[in-house]
Every structure is written in structure tokens, then in C-alpha cells.
Symmetry: C2
Subunit: 464 residues, 2 copies
């Protein structure tokens, strides 16, 4: 219904008088007027949400090695052509190929009976052997606590990491950063003390029955044990049971590692009219976890990056430098797309003025983080541009290193930036089946695309 | 499930170490530390969301004159006592009593056949007579267009007001303000030209099949015709049909006006230790539209206002002035609660330092509007307090007149303020059946309560 009628709405919106009447020629240096045009076009006729509906609706679960990801890559190429990129091409990348297999199970076993718990294997986990692992559970709140307990208390058990994301921390992303070691390194660390498996409380502030997956890794050559995430409700149940006496958990994980698979970054450009060999990059990642539709993570970043090119075309702005959209593969479990892109930049000695990533969800944009090896890029940006962004509710310019895909460009001396959307709701959905289109508000998504476009335009016309 | 387990989470959160270790005595003038305590308590142990679940779950559809509203008033009294108010009392208010009756219907009639349209009567609308009104539809985009068309083109028809909220305006509340004349004055204006009924496009940016109600009014003694809102999907259908030829609409509204009914403002106080006769007020409204659970509008404002008192108690802060929570009745269709409260203030010559309203939804707080007859309160507040609020994502201090309930106090010389939450999602749900608990994020709600509490504390300890 929405789909057919969006055509009608577009017509209705076009018919409704727009309050802007800006006589500036396209691309003029009048920054205030250009930002008005960018935001008005994005809000009134933005296509990012329609693109997200296509991407998420047709290609959910875009994990590296999957057909869904390669189909999404085809879709991205077509879509970038449709918005008017001068060139669209693929960069070949070999990516890790991990498969979940049949959905995992966890059953709590205690004197009073058994109870199934909501669980999901961590990405990259080894499978359980045979019919699964059954062992006593020991609860800890940190990786350090394992050293205190020692091998004698841990060997043969399932370690249960149960430190919640700190609710008192305002920024969800910061609370996540402070808790996620339990997931990313918990199983490998527990293995060193002889544990037979590890389960982790899901990385979310929400108290619900949705388990959140995410990557875990093992050092090369070190022992590997299976790892899974429990929903926060399941974690509370397990912890409550442990307070009453010994508890066993039966865990079954059916994953497997396959040989590396072919995949691709998708790269599109609008060629610069004055400095075509200088690049301004905007990007996100096409892959998602297998269980997730991947609307916020990171369908939003993909469609917002595409929308930057579309807004340039729709507004008739010719960039001075080459505007490049890079849609990375394999962010979630390998960063091979990022590595391949950085290597390409080094090999070709490509000059980037600025590289911008959006990988924190499609929520209301609040600002940017910026990083540079040559001083405080965020302070210069705030001093020059903050007043321009304030009418759009964008106030934050903080120091940062963009995200996982773009961050490595910082080491190459390139100024990097990340879009900072509101972070309160992100971890309600992150890496779950609930990261779906209905959790994205079209206006918030389009404001983010406009914010990215405005930053690109300011950097291109005014320099950094 | 959530309900039972929230007890477990509260325990888990209390057990998790909180990063704050502030040696300040409660109520000390160290503003930065006090704001940290307020926000940490609200985020880690806030009760506003649990209160909202009770209010919305037990007492949806709290329209003036309804049992639901009076039951909610009982609930509010109990809840304010439970959080530790010194005094809780009611102020009697006679409120208008309009009832919808059986749900209204609208059927599009044209050569090709008939089609039901999603419709809701506007609050205060007179009913259709007999079996309903059937008439030809004429579409307009503004009230002014009626004068251009004139009585000859309008008499005997149903006027269809179909100007969308302007999507290019960033703030949803501003786009609403610029479009809502069609709803609030459309039917009365159309009646002057002999129209037999009026239908209005719902006040929302969303394109969906949810009709949005809201108040409409008629000047005393002027002709009254029935008024209803169509969903935006229905409005698009009707407009598309009109482009192909004449269309009739069959509208049936079953409303009735009853005699005024008894209702109540609920007022609670924590008495000031130094200046008990000076009041700082924080409030919202208890009533809602009949079809709406009223989670954002304005359950959120109610529970956030209650939470201000709870946070003072939980943190052991004694206010210098008397902290008063006022939960108004009858905001949606009469403002009788506001009028009664303002009259009480005048009669008793009560001194208010500041009166704060929160009636824009329970979304991420972005700032405040402030108004004063004695100069630019918003500029003074920004200069003194903006840096204190920035760590919590709160940057906006703009000129304003609070909301409908508190605004009249400005005329009494009282400085007024309104909480400004994000406005992008509000009109997706406003005045519909979809304004439900699941549309509220607990952390966003609690950040808003903390922001209100911080503003109250700063005004009380530092003056205005």
C-alpha cells in the first residue's frame, strides 16, 4: 500500500508550495542557502527510505558469503546507476564465510526442571560437538574476573558473562563499547581457563527476549570454544537460577566455517569538475548479520550514502572534487572490504580530502565525529560550520575516528568523519531480527542523508 | 513479561557499579555534579516508564467527561503520594463533555463504485443528521481558497481540506502549526459558505491509513457542520478520484454533546525549605483523545512531571522553593483545567518563579523554549546553562510560550518554559490509536524527565 501511494505522495508534495525561493545558482558559495536546498530536497523528495525498503525487503540477512549479500551488491550497482553516478564499479574482495546452520538452542537444567532460553550463536563461533555441550554454569561480570577465579573454578564449565551495558552512560554507543569485550573476546578468554563454552548477555539496554548476535574472535592457534548470546530476559532468568543453586546449561550450536568466498565493494563516483583527482568519500557497509534485516545496521548507511549522490544530481550541483560513494562488504565479520579499499588507495596513491562513514543507524542526526592526524579537525569544523547546521538540530562536532570501515584511512593521513545519529534506540534492535524497516523513521533517515551531503558540500567548497 | 522482569532489572542495575562517585552533599551548588546525579538516577532507576505503562495500560482514551479520565486522576493522586510528595490535592474543574458515539464512516461514491475511507470525527464535531450526509466533494488547499471560490461553488457540498503538512519544514511542530487551521477552523469556515460538512487531511507527515482526530471549534452562534479527518491514504484516494470527475462522499458521524462534567486538576508539592511561598511548577495534561492510548500525548508529560518529584526525593535534594507538579485536565478540548489553575493563581496571588510544561511527546529531549514578559529568558538560560546540558545532548534554548496549559501564566508575568523533544516521530502517532506505549523509548522518556529536573534545580538554586 505504502509503495504504490508513495508515487501519489511525491506528486502531492511536488504540488504543495515549497517555502524556499532561493535565487542562488546551484553550487554557489552561499552556504546557508545551499544547506536549505539540500535539507528541503531530502525531506520533501528523499529517496533513501524507498531504497531502504527495497534493500531490506528483498535482501535481508546479508552475511558475507551469502547469496543475499551478492544480490544486494547487484541491487546497489543498479541503484547507484539510477541516481546518476558517472561511474559505478566493483572491487573484488575475498570474504570469510561462516554459516550459522540450524538455529541454536540453550536449555537451562536444574533441580526444578528445564527451560528453553532465547539464544543466538555469536558470529564466528565454532559449533558444539556431537549432541551439544552440557555443563555447569559459572557467572562472571568481566573478563578480569576469570583470572581471579582461575582455572580450577572455570575448567569444564560454561562461563556466563553477565555485565549489563551501563544504563547511566548517556551515549548508547559508549555503553556498548564498554561492555562488548564480553562478546568479542569472552569465549576466547574463557577458553584459556578451560571453559567448554561461553554465553554472553546481549548487548542492549532493553529487557526483552531478543538475543543479539555479533562477532567473536579467537587468537590464531588458541583454543576455541563455542560462544552464544542470551536475550537479556534469558540472562536474568539464568542469573536468578544461579542464585538458588547449581545450574547446568545444554547448548547446541550448528555453525560451520567454509572457504573464503568472492564478494565485492561497490564504488560509484560523480567526477569533480575542478579537482577530479581529489576524492571526498562517503560510505557504509552492505553486509549485515544473517538473522538481521539490517535496516539500521547498515542499510541506513548504504541508502544515505547513495542519497548523497542523488541529492547532488537532483540539485544540479557539480562537485569540485570527485565525490565517491563506497559501499563496503564484510564489515561485520572481517573488515576485508575496508582492507581491500585501503590497499587500493595506497597502491594508487589516491588523494582523499575527507572520508565519511555512516554506521550508527538511521536515527535523527545529531552531529559528526571527525579525526585527523594533522590537528583537531572537529574543532575547526565546529568553529566554521556549527551555526550552519544548528537550524537542522545538528550541534555535535566531536573528536573521533569514524567507524570500522573508514577508520583505517586515518592512518593514511586522511581526515575521517562519522555521522552521529541519536543512540538511544540503536541497541534495542542491533544485530537482531528486529532491525527492520518499521524501526526507521523516513524523516530521520532523510535528515541524516542531508547532513552528510551538507558536510560533503562544505568540505568541497570551503576545504577542511 | 517485561513487567515482572523490570523488578529483576532494577535489582541488576542497582548491583552493577555506577560510574559516579560524587562526594558533594545533596543540593550543593556544584551544578555539573548535580546534573550528573540527576541524569544517572533517571537513566539507571527511572520510574517514569513503569508509570506510563500503568497509566496507558489501565486508562487509555482519557477524554474529558469519561470514566477513564477520572480513573486516571485517581491513579495520579496515588502515584504522586507514592513518590513522596508532601501534599497531593485536587482542584475541581467543570469540563466539556463530548462523546464520539459509534465510530464514524465515510464512503466514497463515484461512477466506478464505492469505497470506504479511513475516517475519524473531529473532537467537538456536531453529528450528521439522520442516516448521514451525502454530497459532492470540493477539494481546497486552504481556508482562503473558500473566499475565492465563494458560496456559489461551495453551498451544499462537502469541503475537503487537503493541504499536507509541509515536509520541507524541519520541525514537525512548526509544520503542524502551519497546517492545523484546516482542522481547527475548517468546518466552521466552510459552514459560512453553505457547506454541509467538511473533511480534513490528517495532520501527519506519514502516508498511512491512520486517521488523526483533534479539536475543531465553531464561533458562538455561527452555523455548525460536521467535521472529520481522513487518513492521508484516504485523502490521496479522494484527491485522485476527484481528478477523474465528480465524487460524492457519504459521511456519518454519531457524536453528541452532553452537559459539562466534573473533573479535576491534580496538584502535588514538595514544600520549599527557604522560600516555600515561591513556586516552581512542572506539569502536563492527564486527558487524551478518546481513540488514543495517549502515551506521548500526554502520558509522557504526566509521568515525566511526576518523575521530577521522585528524582528530588531519590537524590535527597530539598528544594529552596516549593516544587509543584500540576497535572491538568481538559487540555485537548477546552483548556478548562488551565483556566481554573490560572484563576487560582490570580485569586491567591501566588508567586511562581518558573512554570514548565511538557506536552510535545516523550522523545529524546533537545532543549527548552522559554518565555518571559521581562526580557529574553531563553538567551539568559542559554548563556548560563547550555554548557551544563550539552553532555546530555541538549543544545536548544529558544524563545517560546511553553504550551497550551502553561502559556496563559506568561500573561501573569511568570516566566514559562516548555520541554522540546525531537519532533520527527510525534505526528506519526499524534491523536491516533497508535499513540501507544510501544512507541515510547524508556531511555528517551527518562532523559526528558532528567532534563526537566535539571532545569528546575538550576532555576531554584541559581534563580532566573
Amino acid at each position: 500500500m505504502r509503495r504504490v501511494l508513495s508515487v501519489l505522495l511525491t506528486a502531492a508534495v511536488a504540488a504543495a508550495s515549497t517555502p524556499l525561493s532561493i535565487a542562488q545558482p546551484a553550487g554557489s558559495p552561499d552556504a546557508e542557502a545551499t544547506l536549505q536546498r539540500i535539507f528541503a530536497e531530502a525531506l520533501a523528495r528523499g529517496q533513501a527510505y524507498d531504497h531502504l525498503r527495497e534493500l531490506v525487503g528483498r535482501h535481508p540477512g546479508r552475511l558475507s558469503g551469502s547469496k543475499a549479500l551478492e544480490d544486494a551488491i547487484d541491487w546497489a550497482e543498479r541503484t547507484l546507476r539510477s541516481v546518476g553516478a558517472d561511474t559505478v564499479f566493483r572491487q573484488d574482495v575475498q570474504v570469510p564465510h561462516w554459516e550459522r546452520g540450524a538455529r541454536e538452542t540453550a536449555v537451562l537444567l536444574r533441580a526444578g526442571g528445564t527451560e528453553s532460553l532465547a539464544v543466538v550463536a555469536l558470529g564466528g563461533s565454532v559449533p558444539t560437538e556431537g549432541a551439544g555441550v552440557v555443563a555447569e554454569v559459572i557467572e562472571v561480570k568481566s573478563l578480569d574476573e576469570l583470572a581471579t577465579l582461575g582455572r580450577s573454578r572455570i575448567a569444564g564449565k560454561i562461563v556466563f558473562f553477565n555485565r549489563p551495558m551501563d544504563p547511566a552512560i548517556v551515549r548508547g554507543t559508549e555503553a556498548y563499547r564498554q561492555a562488548v569485550d564480553q562478546r568479542s573476546r569472552g569465549p576466547a578468554t574463557a577458553a584459556r581457563y578451560g571453559a567448554v563454552a561461553a554465553v554472553v548477555r546481549s548487548m542492549t539496554h532493553a529487557l526483552d527476549d531478543q538475543p543479539h548476535t555479533g562477532g567473536t574472535s579467537y587468537p590464531a592457534g588458541a583454543p576455541r570454544i563455542p560462544g552464544a548470546a542470551l536475550s537479556t530476559v534469558a540472562a536474568e532468568k539464568l542469573s536468578a537460577a544461579l542464585r538458588t543453586g547449581p545450574v547446568q546449561l545444554a547448548l547446541k550450536i550448528n555453525s560451520r566455517w567454509l572457504p573464503d568466498a568472492p564478494s565485492h565493494n561497490v564504488i560509484a563516483e560523480i567526477r569533480g569538475r575542478e579537482l577530479p583527482d581529489e576524492i571526498i568519500l562517503v560510505g557504509g557497509h552492505l553486509d549485515s548479520w544473517d538473522i538481521a534485516p539490517g535496516a539500521h545496521d547498515n542499510g541506513s548507511g548504504v541508502v544515505q550514502s547513495i542519497e548523497v549522490l542523488r541529492l547532488y544530481r537532483a540539485l544540479g550541483i557539480q562537485p569540485r572534487r570527485t565525490l565517491r560513494c563506497v559501499l563496503f562488504t564484510n564489515e561485520e565479520n572481517g573488515l576485508r572490504g575496508s582492507t581491500a579499499y585501503v590497499n587500493r588507495v595506497k597502491e594508487r596513491k589516491e588523494k582523499h580530502l575527507l572520508a565519511i562513514e555512516t554506521d550508527n543507524g538511521g536515527f535523527q542526526p545529531r552531529g559528526f565525529n571527525l579525526g585527523s592526524t594533522q590537528g583537531d579537525a572537529h574543532e575547526r569544523a565546529a568553529a566554521r560550520w556549527r551555526a550552519l547546521f544548528e537550524p537542522y538540530g545538528i550541534h555535535v562536532f566531536m573528536k573521533g575516528t569514524a567507524g570500522a570501515d573508514i577508520g583505517p584511512l586515518l592512518v593514511q593521513g586522511i581526515t575521517v568523519a562519522g555521522l552521529l545519529p541519536d543512540s538511544q534506540r540503536y541497541f534495542d534492535y542491533h544485530h537482531t531480527t528486529q532491525d527492520s524497516l518499521d524501526k526507521v523513521n523516513p524523516r530521520e533517515l532523510h535528515l541524516g542523508a542531508a547532513a552528510l551531503t551538507a558536510l560533503v558540500w562544505l568540505a568541497d567548497t570551503q576545504g577542511l
